[in-house]
């Protein structure tokens, strides 16, 4: 029992330099966009100058984060939103994140199953992305993928996080508008006043509104909002919308709320603050990643530091300072 293969030679294809792909990306070439996202994910040093060039063409897109527990209906909702925005002539980008296996590193990326009809529209670009060990609900290169789509003229760009628990709120410093999707029947009003995921919502959506339990979830969320809802300094009050992908109920309202929030951010000036927050997180994230790579590449030198820490000649924070080149006393530990 063996695998059969044809007698012709194995397919070949040349590696095209990343900088060659940039003009194609700017003119919207789907294959070039897809390839650049792959290279950003892989962290090829060769792609770094091209990504830097792409970044200079970004900043036009409205980036929308959709988050919620596993099975809340995020992919189904994204599918409905693609249709709603595309019908108004928008080119809609989607980056859908699913978890990688902590054991094999592999992943099943299943978000397209619920999006197939919308995703095959010529107005939409859907990319599935595995977390590859990154915690917080996104992948390390999610925002580089968003950059590529932004530069190619997609807006809105929807980031669908992994199914989150209560504390994976990284999306709050990744997107301009956050939709938190709650599923009916998952808890009482104590869940609703806890800290964490519910606090980050600019828009609350309750899925499966065709189910009777949805009304309870909506009233728990509305009750929570009466206790004060604004993020510090914002004049925006997050609406609570019960939606149903089955009946299509309120999907239009949700789309309008997302657009209204975008207008609010721009008119109130809050967008500036959000963008600064996103950039701050990205710089820090990139620094952590580069440090990690340096750590992996300099295994020999680091081995000596490890031995020094094992021998109690140095403490772990001291070794870290040495690696960073911070030899001064009195720096943060």
């Amino acid at each position: 029992m063996t695998v059969s293969m044809p007698s012709r030679p194995v397919k070949r294809a040349a590696y095209r330099p990343s900088t060659e792909l940039v003009p194609e990306i700017l003119s919207g070439n789907v294959a070039a966009i897809a390839r650049m996202i792959t290279r950003a994910e892989a962290g090829y040093p060769e792609a770094a100058p091209a990504l830097a060039e792409i970044y200079r063409h970004t900043g036009k897109a409205h980036v929308v984060g959709i988050t919620g527990v596993p099975g809340a209906g995020k992919s189904t909702l994204v599918s409905s939103l693609i249709r709603a925005f595309a019908s108004e002539g928008h080119k809609v980008g989607v980056v859908a994140v699913d978890p990688s296996s902590p054991f094999s590193g592999g992943a099943i990326l299943g978000d397209r199953v619920r999006m197939s009809e919308a995703a095959s529209s010529s107005q939409a670009f859907v990319r599935s992305m595995a977390t590859r060990g990154h915690l917080g609900g996104l992948a390390r290169s999610t925002l580089q993928a968003v950059d590529v789509l932004d530069a190619a003229g997609y807006s809105p760009i929807i980031i669908e996080t992994v199914g989150v628990g209560q504390d994976e709120v990284e999306v709050v410093t990744a997107a301009h508008s956050i939709v938190v999707l709650s599923a009916p029947g998952l808890g009482d009003d104590i869940q609703a006043i806890k800290a964490g995921i519910l606090e980050i919502a600019d828009i609350h959506a309750v899925s499966k509104s065709d189910k009777p339990e949805a009304a309870v979830t909506v009233s728990a969320l509305r009750g929570m909002m009466t206790l004060g809802s604004e993020r510090a300094g914002s004049k925006w009050t997050p609406p609570v919308l019960a939606v149903s992908a089955v009946s299509g109920e309120r999907l239009g309202e949700l789309k309008d709320a997302i657009s209204r929030h975008w207008s609010h951010l721009r008119e109130s000036g809050e967008l500036v603050e959000r963008q600064r927050g996103i950039c701050r997180t990205r710089i820090l994230g990139a620094a952590k990643y580069l440090f990690q790579r340096k750590f992996d590449e300099r295994a020999g030198e680091i081995g000596e530091h490890i031995q020094a820490v094992v021998n109690r000649d140095m403490d772990p924070a001291g070794a870290a300072r040495l690696l960073l080149g911070w030899t001064n006393e009195g720096q943060a530990t």
Binding site: M1, K11, R12, G106, A107, S116
Partner: protein
């Protein structure tokens, strides 16, 4: 940049890069237990598997494969209509300039149809009794032979 001359495939090539596979069900074939088992096998081998769901047309599958930039499209077919469906898949791949993507066929495919599948651009046919490792090695060898793109 210092690590890599422009134009060369980067160091992290096929040997360490993550292999991405699109597992698809084509046409009117509602049996996806096998496709899901294969998806799980590939996941456990460290690959990233995009699953499309049932009843896809060849052009939908190719459009998804291009956006996802996968290395391999794995198609399981049990319906008997593999000859025309793979022909159409091959045509869509060429049309969308995506024929660098390998096509691996599985399911129920009688040997007398193999020649027709080779003509359609299929790169490997995995018999239904194949063991998990065989599917994994086939994909790894194909991608390693081509290298990163």
């Amino acid at each position: 940049m210092t690590e890599q001359a422009m134009g060369d495939a980067p160091d992290r090539d096929a040997a360490t890069g993550t292999i991405r596979v699109l597992v698809a069900k084509l046409g009117l074939d509602g049996h996806d237990r096998g496709a899901k088992v294969v998806a799980r096998i590939l996941r456990d081998a460290g690959m990233e598997v995009v699953y499309t769901g049932l009843y896809k047309s060849p052009d939908e599958v190719v459009a998804a494969a291009v956006q996802e930039d996968v290395d391999v499209i794995g198609v399981s077919l049990l319906s008997g209509s593999h000859v025309p469906l793979f022909r159409e898949l091959g045509r869509c791949l060429r049309e969308q300039k995506a024929d660098h993507i390998f096509v691996v066929a599985g399911g129920v495919i009688p040997e007398q149809d193999y020649a027709a599948l080779w003509d359609s651009g299929v790169d490997a046919i995995v018999p239904q009794e194949a063991r998990a490792e065989l599917i994994v090695t086939t994909i790894r060898n194909l991608v390693a032979a081509r290298g990163r793109i």
